[in-house]
Subunit: 691 residues, 2 copies
């Protein structure tokens, strides 16, 4: 032990070295210890002694747990340091963000800022020309939130590949690209045609395209028309965003859209296997109700639900791509659009009747069947892609819609209808030939047996309900392990229950949602709810569950000076020894480095009115050695992850002496990791160079 | 069952009624069922059969759980519908928010937006004159994030009363008031003296004052001075914000501050019981190091750690209040400040030496002792308030500091020093006479035995380490059940471990923190970690844990038309039947109601350039029947909780036809709960009234 003084303190120089060493050493030791304690490969099978059984029973009784509770707890508990088997990427709904949740523990692992500026991640708090803020502007004005709906993991041959995540913003018709190497949003594209979307994002089996289906019809290209002109001027759309995997970006110039009738397009799914080359979009309000309760019209909720059937949109996207590449698109608001007439002429767009007001259209893993769940019909309707192809070939139409689009004969394309219960919304699949459908009004998850090729996988009657599990309450979507791939895993299913009501402590009038984990791998027909997770940060719409070991995330940035916006080493990143402050006229350039536990330089002196460009490199290369950087009262906060480079610019328009400091607790001397920005008032300024 | 058509759909009029009824009924049924299934008073003691033991053992072995894991899982699992025993209110660090977590399940229950606009809660997305955005401005410019540090629950007689929560913003020296009836931020006050704070917020035992201690010294009142003038012109401060409980607001006009030397004030705690009337603030950098590594000076981390002792600030706040009320404050930037000279003259400010670079000062439940943990000293130092009072009375000074403040003789005020380990930061207490101190460098929680009156509560040697539990990794603060009150509960303690490193799946270079739950009520000396919770939304600093049944939160707003900003019924709230759109010149007033599943009106027609004031009342009175309201591309999103009234104003500067819709999944016909804002382009506008 180092020399102590009378109060027991160790001497300061000695201690400084000790502290610096211990921070590194402490973590290293901790990691070793953690690994030792992690119940991993070396875990030996246990057998409970009678004393242990008595101890566990006593504890269960003290906590009023029954045996099923003990089973559920043992199915979901993760010992310290043990990693979850799956990651559930969830939309955060109108929070604008994406959240990652571990399964089976249902622990929230990370938020990922997407459409809403978020300061922990330093997302949107990097000064006057922040690329995040720029990417969130629509026509030059910040729209700083989103209504995230459908996360879609990138796929290779129909399997999640763990590389990218896409998500749509229903409120503003935008699509974001998240890179799963560093879990950061890299791109936001604004749909130039429409205001709102819904079926976004869905990917084709090799992620050639990211599909964005519309929602509420409007005048394409941000146009105006009063409600009287609904049928004539309002239109729906679906956009095919071309994805450039090598660049990790949507290629806007190679993207295009299809004009659609002003039905409200809803969920979408891409074909795969037998249906590869197609995608499917639900619609409702084929009534083209335009509301007007204030003028004595039926409200949208009634007007849009009058007819018995809406239209499943069937799109041959490979044909559409050829038509686009052949120059057959016209331009609306600068964006190429295949008109309804062109789509009809090219034979790339067909409708099939579907029971009223459907929500989900979900393609079975083999791609042979499309399952439509219509919330006002107690059945799900199953379509066969073979029958669809045959009906198209043989022109088995029951007519056309008002815009001339051929409507396939319902009986010619229908494979089965399965009665499940009230309010079916969305369907997922497992590895044993079963489908799972959410029942909103019943507040239940239905398991039902698939037919056709799937019948050999189980002993149940094909196309038939098997069992239901009640959920609490009003389930919207559900998500099964690898449930949207060509090879789902079964095991786990999450019920995204919309109302939690009494499930948790009353958190004021605004309550969390309830994500409930169902054990769908349990023996027998039971599929019990084994965990209730309050979802406390938005009203999420959908999520996808990927095997955790498919994610190959970076632990630190690949090189010191990495720019996460470009995903490349940035030549502008200050290196150790290059730090300093220079000036040209009223432009000041600050070159700074950050390492435990100081910034270099510690004082930056500028004049009021200077335009300051500030570059910081985090010199750390140790996992979890993140620094923050903020300037008080200047609305600036960065997250400087190991190796990261950031640049920000601002006008020093407020005189005064402002502390800057590290906002991420990085070491024992974290509080001392600070400095001052001195903005000399105009009244005192001499024009001397920043220093 | 209603009449079915050929596709199995029920007829539309019948179905509409059915759906409306079922939504209500479904929830009511669900609630009943939930209550039945909730393992509550009716739960019968279980005894495990040999088959059940075998089943549980098999499951444990499949999941590689050992017996301790089974115990931990049974200690933390909450069956569906069972409510947690405690709520942990946690700072969200540089996310700017507060988060509520259930204990023992460690489930995140709710986010509460405070310093950062958040769209799920509709916080800061209510148009051009949003009161939230206004409250976040500093000198007219939005500072839309914060670095939340210390949540403080309101207290009555030293007990948490569950009414209010206060929290400071370290980055911008602000304090927020959250009302725990509706879990919403009601007020943000900006400290007019300084840029950064740290010891905020702490309350006096009856919440007379909310204390905001400073952090980095600067020129008070947003002044400027270069680093050379550090000692002469930089100052610290502590502010006493007067809380008006009846109004639920800080009364800025009755608040005042104390000028302090430019040491970096750190954590604070209010006296109670024996020390009622005092509060205590730590400091570091009494060296008055001003950094300058870029000029060859020692960096702050070294310069601020040179001396062996810093100063514990002891403030007699009742005397300070009297001095303030007697008009002895001078004004800086419009705010009353007791100068150092006045504080000395009035005998209300004393220093006691404390081992170098302390972090926490924590008053024991009885109020007799103050425990200081200094990260560079392996001991905690315990001070006696009786000794302090005696030393003040007898003028047992060892001298004064550079500013003339009397420094009490260390040996005269010290009760004990207890060696615990490396990097002690912060201390909490239980009901059995023990204290718990976080050890940052050791990555451990130390339990040690209190002495004095507490010695009779246990059989351990007083003022002595009892045991340590390793945590993963680098614990900052810790929080025990009711741990800051006059009567802590013991039972649970949360270690806020700053680094998680390998504990969870790698979530890119930015990792969650690790909140670890320790069972401090376990028999014997063991206090095992029983849960690892990733904290995924910021780097939280501190949290407080309150008994859940102390919270008397509203399930819905008390009356239809409630304005949460004023916490009162708002006469402007449109009632059912009053809906409509009116115009005066270019000013349009929209009166709207919202109820499952439509807005009234559904069309709002305005002219480009109109200034639109839009009022919405949520007519719902059912728990969890929340609606959202957004206008696409206009950056507007509201959360309309049952009974809530909201008003927003914007300029209709973008022509076009914009859907608005409900952003919270409210019913089976939620997607149909929409309408259109038609902004007629100037080229077409005729000046007709909005309709």
């Amino acid at each position: 032990m180092a020399r102590k003084n009378r109060t027991g303190c160790v001497g300061s120089a000695v201690l400084m070295a000790l502290v610096a060493g211990l921070v590194a050493e402490g973590v290293a030791l901790g990691q070793q210890e953690g690994r030792r304690r992690r119940p991993g490969a070396e875990a030996r099978p246990i057998e409970m002694t009678p004393d242990q059984v008595a101890q566990l029973t006593r504890l269960a009784n003290e906590r009023r747990l029954n045996f099923d509770d003990l089973l559920s707890s043992a199915k979901t508990f993760m010992p310290s340091g043990r990693h979850d088997d799956y990651v559930l990427f969830s939309s955060g709904g109108q929070s604008g963000q994406v959240y990652a949740i571990g399964v089976p523990s249902m622990r929230l692992l990370r938020s990922i800022a997407v459409f809403t500026p978020e300061s922990w991640q330093g997302y949107g708090f990097a000064g006057d020309q922040d690329p995040v803020i720029e990417s969130l502007k629509i026509d030059g004005k910040l729209v700083g939130w989103g209504d995230t709906h459908h996360p879609a993991l990138s796929e290779t041959k129909g399997e999640y590949d763990g590389q990218f995540l896409f998500i749509g913003d229903k409120a503003n018709a935008r699509v974001a690209v998240i890179d799963l190497r560093d879990w950061e949003t890299k791109q936001i594209v604004k749909n130039p045609l429409t205001i709102s979307d819904h079926g976004a994002a869905f990917v084709t089996p090799d992620t050639d395209y990211v599909i964005e289906g519309g929602q509420y019809a409007t005048v394409l290209g941000y146009g105006y028309a009063p409600p009287e002109e609904y049928k004539a001027k309002y239109r729906g759309m679906v956009t095919l965003w071309k994805f450039d995997r090598a660049r990790g970006r949507i290629d806007e110039k190679s993207s295009f859209a299809l004009e659609l009738p002003p039905y409200w397009q809803d969920l979408a799914d891409a074909g795969k296997g037998a249906s590869d080359g197609y995608f499917f979009v639900n619609s409702f309000n084929v009534e083209m109700a335009s509301g007007g309760v204030e003028r004595g019209q039926p409200p949208f909720e009634a007007g849009a639900s009058k007819r018995d059937m809406d239209y499943l949109h069937i799109v041959d996207w490979k044909k559409a791509e050829r038509a686009f590449k052949a120059g057959k698109a016209k331009t609306i608001n600068g964006f190429p659009v295949l008109t309804i007439e062109t789509s009809i002429a090219e034979g790339l767009l067909y409708f099939a009747p579907e029971p009223k007001s459907p929500h989900g259209v979900d393609v079975t893993p083999c791609g042979k069947y499309m399952v439509v769940a219509g919330k006002l019909d107690p059945h799900v309707t199953v379509y066969s892609i073979e029958k669809v192809k045959r009906a198209i070939e043989s022109k088995a139409y029951s007519g056309t819609d008002d815009y001339g689009i051929p409507v396939l004969n319902f009986d010619a394309v229908k494979e089965a209808q399965v009665e499940l219960g009230l309010g079916p919304l969305h369907t997922q699949f497992d590895d044993k030939g079963y489908a799972y459908t959410s029942l909103f009004l019943d507040s239940a998850v239905a398991r039902w047996a698939l037919g056709g090729d799937y019948a050999k996988l189980h002993k149940d009657q094909p196309w038939k309900l098997v069992t239901k599990t009640p959920v609490q309450y009003n389930i919207g979507h559900l998500s099964a392990a690898e449930g949207d791939t060509v090879s789902p895993d079964g095991k786990y299913l999450v019920s995204m229950s919309k109302w939690s009501v009494d499930r948790f402590i009353t958190t004021g009038p605004l309550l969390p949602q309830n994500f409930q984990l169902l054990d769908i791998g349990a023996p027998g027909t039971a599929m019990p709810v084994i965990y209730d997770m309050p979802f406390p940060v938005g009203e999420p719409h959908y999520c996808q569950m990927i095997k955790a070991d498919k994610l190959k995330s970076w632990e630190v940035y690949p090189q010191i000076g990495w720019n996460p916006h470009t995903q490349a080493l940035d030549p502008r990143a200050p290196k150790k020894g290059e730090e300093g402050v220079t000036r040209e006229g009223n432009k000041v350039l600050v070159k700074m480095t950050a390492i435990r536990s100081h910034f270099f330089p510690e004082h930056v002196e500028v004049n009021e009115g200077d335009v300051v460009t500030w570059r910081i490199t985090a010199l750390e290369s140790t996992k979890d050695a993140t620094h923050g950087f903020c300037i008080g009262a200047y609305n600036i906060n960065l997250s400087l992850e190991p190796g990261e480079f950031q640049e920000f610019t601002f006008t020093a328009d407020r005189p005064g002496t402002y502390p800057f400091y590290c906002t991420e607790f990085c070491s024992a001397l974290h509080l001392e990791m600070m400095g001052y920005l001195h903005v000399k008032p105009k009244s005192l300024a001499t024009g001397e160079a920043g220093r």
